[in-house]
Every structure is written in structure tokens, then in C-alpha cells.
């Protein structure tokens, strides 16, 4: 009900909104229709892996490492009771990083970085009639442009694994070198009450977020109308809606899988 209420509150024009949702699902169907020749598709997929995955590792590593450190410091500073064991810093950092920070927070950052890139690159192709050129040649433009991004983002869990590792490592560094606890305490906390399903939950979310990251920005780029100004507007709108959908789907999946 909360999701429906939230969605209704965001609607300015319900008919247009429903049309957009319909067009989005038709686009998803079209991603897999009339596939482009593999010899043409392969380099596109490799290029998108480079642009979307490899090109994002640097910023993800930087943010994960320092946010992991901040989580450890804040947890430590808020543990004022002397009866609370020191290993809880490691435990809280691990739980925060694996359950929420790495899959959700990083995905919202990726909605800005990767999402804007996808929308603006496809939108520019629309403005400069390159997509019309594809369609005139009888090529399924949606398959040609969106499918490689979809496949590239199936490697997104790899990025999130790095974010998880570096987040926990950042917490360790901040804890030990900031004088908030010992390495032994922190590692004990990281290993404490480990539930493997939490990893499965995190990676289920990651796969769903990867799908949203590939398709929502592609939709806003592919179906945009107008000129250069509208490319910028479409990028902003795409970021907003990708973030909103990530938050809503995160709520839904958490309710279903952990609730």
C-alpha cells in the first residue's frame, strides 16, 4: 500500500504515467526481439563492460573504503556503554556494508554515474538521428543499444563484491589506525553470527538493481524528444526515477526476503 501511495503521490499526469510504464515494458520485450548479429553485438558488449563496469570500479572502491571507515568510527563512537563488547564494531560494519551500503547505496551512486551516461549517450543518438538511421536500416535499435548494456550490467555483482570487501577493509583500517579497537576484535566481529543468506539477499538485490540500472536510463534516452537541452533533462529525470525505483524495490525485496 505504501508503494502504491508513494507512486500515486509522484504522479503528475496519471495517463501519461501509465503510458510511460506501458512503453517501458514494451521496450523490455523489444530488448530480446530480433537480435543483432553476434559478430556485431560482441564488441558492443565488451565496450559497455569497459564503460559501465570497469570504468566504475575506481569511484566505487574509493567511496566504499571511506564509507566503511566512517561506519566503523561512528559505530565505535556510539558504543558508550562499557558492557558492549568491542567486536560489535566489526559486526555492525559488516552488517551495514553487506545488507544495505554495498547493494543499495552504491546502486544509487551508479544511477548517477552509469545511468546518466546511458541516458545521455542514447539520447544524443536520438537527437542526432542515429537511432532513426538504425531503424531505417531495419535494425532493432532497442536490441542494438540496450541489450549490450543489460549484459554488461550482469557483471554488476562483481562491482558490489569489491564494494563489500573494501567497505569492510576500510572499517578495519579506520578502527585499528584511528585507535577505536584492535584488529582481533574487529575481525572477530566480522566473523560473528555470519548468516550466508544475507549474501544471497544482497546479490538478489544487486541483480534486480542491475536490471533497473540498465533499463530505466535506456528508456529515458531512447524515447526522449527534443534537442540538446532535453538530453540534460532526460539524464536528470532518469537519475531521479532510477533512484526512486531502487529505493522502492529495495523496500519490497527486504520485506519479502527478510521480513
Amino acid at each position: 500500500m505504501l508503494i502504491i501511495f508513494y507512486t500515486l503521490a509522484l504522479m503528475k499526469n496519471p495517463i501519461t504515467y501509465l503510458q510511460n510504464i506501458g512503453t517501458y515494458f514494451i521496450m523490455i520485450k523489444d530488448i530480446f526481439r530480433r537480435p543483432t548479429k553476434w559478430s556485431v553485438m560482441k564488441p558492443l558488449i565488451l565496450k559497455d563492460i569497459d564503460d559501465l563496469i570497469i570504468g566504475s570500479i575506481g569511484i566505487v572502491a574509493f567511496i566504499s573504503f571511506f564509507v566503511g571507515g566512517v561506519v566503523a568510527i561512528q559505530t565505535s563512537l556510539n558504543m558508550t556503554s562499557p558492557i558492549m563488547p568491542k567486536y560489535l564494531v566489526g559486526f555492525a560494519t559488516r552488517q551495514s556494508i553487506i545488507l544495505e551500503f554495498a547493494p543499495t547505496f552504491i546502486s544509487i551512486i551508479m544511477a548517477g554515474k552509469v545511468g546518466s551516461f546511458i541516458t545521455s549517450s542514447i539520447g544524443t543518438m536520438r537527437v542526432t538521428e542515429q537511432i532513426d538511421a538504425l531503424e531505417v536500416m531495419g535494425i532493432n535499435g532497442i536490441n542494438y543499444l540496450v541489450f549490450p548494456k543489460f549484459i554488461a550490467l550482469t557483471l554488476y555483482p562483481f562491482v558490489i563484491s569489491i564494494a563489500m570487501f573494501l567497505g569492510i577493509l576500510g572499517g578495519l583500517m579506520a578502527c585499528v589506525y584511528g585507535g577505536y579497537g584492535t584488529m582481533e576484535d574487529y575481525i572477530e566481529g566480522v566473523q560473528l553470527d555470519f548468516i550466508p543468506f544475507h549474501f544471497i539477499y544482497a546479490f538478489i538485490k544487486t541483480f534486480v538493481f542491475a536490471f533497473l540500472l540498465a533499463t530505466i536510463p535506456s528508456y529515458y534516452g531512447y524515447f526522449m524528444k527534443g534537442g540538446a537541452l532535453e538530453v540534460g533533462k532526460a539524464s536528470t529525470t532518469s537519475f531521479v526515477w532510477t533512484s526512486v525505483m531502487i529505493i522502492l524495490v529495495n523496500f519490497l525485496l527486504t520485506s519479502l526476503l527478510l521480513g
Binding site: T128, E129, Q130, M137, G138, I139
Partner: protein, 255 residues
């Protein structure tokens, strides 16, 4: 040959094309002319299958586009070449890769065969030394020639050009006009050119279709356009002093 019957196209409440019936002949350079807002681009995009129309029919060599299956439409589209107003070259590819693109998509040729064909076509448009350049490094005239090369590389039966001379200097515009005319004759294809350029009308207009407010106002050739008394056509084509004088001289010489 392309036959258009009673074509209607609207966007919401705005009726753009109001029942156009005409034909574009094979082996000829067919021009669509008319003022801005007369429906030329919408008409061209209907011919290309980019816009769906509400009423009427378009037949390509006897095949009604709307009656074709999805695969037949795809096959038909692979027989069309299009030169867009802004060239629409893929900016992530070199000039040679742009030209090779339709071959990679629609043929099973080996890389050597494709390279040979690209060399042949680029030579045809006088760009034999531009293979490795990116579209952003090419001038407007070069980009148009690359777009023509890409449009003809897969030996299309139909060539469409949307204002191929816009933004070009007069000399380059004549080069592009001549190239379109030569290619049409050489490959015996049906060429449809959407243009504002009166030089093109005089130089290459073997068949001219004049649109006004979404209706076919007049059709003829570059010769009959000198003699027409249609007020809308004369007001549009002979709006400049130069063309009025050219027309006067032509009529004096031929009467």
C-alpha cells in the same frame, strides 16, 4: 517505383498529410519540395516507415508496406538507403566502419569482401583517403558524402535524402546533387530527395512533387516547373529575383 495513395497522417488533432496520392519513379531523381511546415519531412518519414499513417497506402515495387509481415518489412528496409539532414553518422565509429556497418549487419561477406566494397564506395564518393577519420574530424560536405556512401553500400533499391544540401556551400551542394543524380542513373534506383534548395530543383529534378499545407499542390519536372502557372509553385520557386530572371530567360529562349 513507389506508389502513394491517399496518405493521411495526424499528430493528435493536427492533420499534417491530408490525402497525398503520387508516385516516385525508378531510375529517376524525385524531389519533394514545399515551404517549411508543408509536411515534407513527415511525408518522407512515412515513406521510410518511421511514422505510421492512419489512412492510405504506400507500395514499394507493388508491395504494400502495411500488408507486409514484420520480417518482410525488415527485408524491405534493408533495401532502403537514407541520407539524413544531419548525416546521422555513428560518432563512435570511423568513416570506414560507418560505411561498412550495413554490410556487417545484413550480409555474410568476409572481412576482405566488405573492405573491398567499402573502398569501392568511398572511392565513388571521392573519399578514398578518409577511411580512418572519425566523423567529428570530417567537414559537413565530407559527412554528407560518407552518409551517401553508407546509404548505397548495400546496393539499395530505394534511396531517400532529407535536405542533403542544407548547411553546405554552393559548390559542395552541387557536388552532392551531381553525386545523387549519378548514383540514381548508375544503379537504376528510386531516389526521393526532400529539399528546399532551388538549385537542386533546377539541376536534378526529374520528377518534382510540390506540397502545400499537407496536400499535393503540383507535380511535374524541372522543365515543366518553368512553364507552370500554379501560383503557389511560382511564389515558392521564383521568390528570388535571380530565379525569376532565370525563368524569364528560359521562357524567352523556348517560346
Amino acid at each position: 517505383m513507389i506508389e502513394v495513395k491517399n496518405l493521411h497522417k495526424s499528430f493528435g488533432d493536427v492533420h499534417i498529410l491530408k490525402g497525398i496520392t503520387t508516385s516516385f519513379e525508378k531510375g529517376k531523381t524525385n524531389l519533394i519540395i514545399g515551404q517549411s511546415g508543408s509536411g515534407k519531412t513527415v511525408f518522407l518519414k512515412c515513406l521510410l516507415g518511421l511514422f505510421e499513417y492512419e489512412e492510405g497506402s504506400i507500395s514499394y515495387e507493388g508491395k504494400n508496406f502495411n500488408e507486409l509481415s514484420r520480417n518482410e518489412k525488415t527485408n524491405l528496409r534493408s533495401e532502403m538507403g537514407m541520407v539524413f539532414q544531419g548525416s546521422a553518422l555513428f560518432d563512435s565509429m570511423t568513416i570506414a566502419e560507418n560505411v561498412m556497418f550495413p554490410l556487417r549487419m545484413f550480409t555474410k561477406q568476409s572481412k576482405t569482401e566488405m573492405e573491398d566494397r567499402v573502398n569501392e564506395v568511398l572511392k565513388r564518393v571521392n573519399l578514398e583517403n578518409a577511411h580512418s577519420k572519425m566523423p567529428s574530424e570530417a567537414s559537413g560536405g565530407m559527412q554528407k558524402r560518407v552518409a551517401i556512401a553508407r546509404a548505397i553500400v548495400n546496393r539499395p533499391k530505394f534511396l531517400f535524402c532529407d535536405e542533403p544540401n542544407s548547411g553546405l556551400d554552393p559548390r559542395t551542394a552541387i557536388v552532392i546533387d551531381n553525386l545523387i543524380q549519378e548514383i540514381t542513373d548508375e544503379f537504376n534506383i528510386t531516389t526521393v530527395v526532400n529539399t528546399h534548395d532551388m538549385n537542386s530543383v533546377m539541376e536534378i529534378g526529374e520528377k518534382i512533387v510540390f506540397l502545400k499545407d499537407g496536400l499535393l499542390e503540383w507535380e511535374g519536372s524541372s522543365e515543366t516547373i518553368f512553364r507552370t502557372e500554379n501560383e503557389a509553385v511560382t511564389n515558392f520557386v521564383y521568390s528570388s529575383n535571380l530565379f525569376r530572371k532565370v525563368r524569364k530567360m528560359y521562357l524567352e529562349e523556348n517560346n
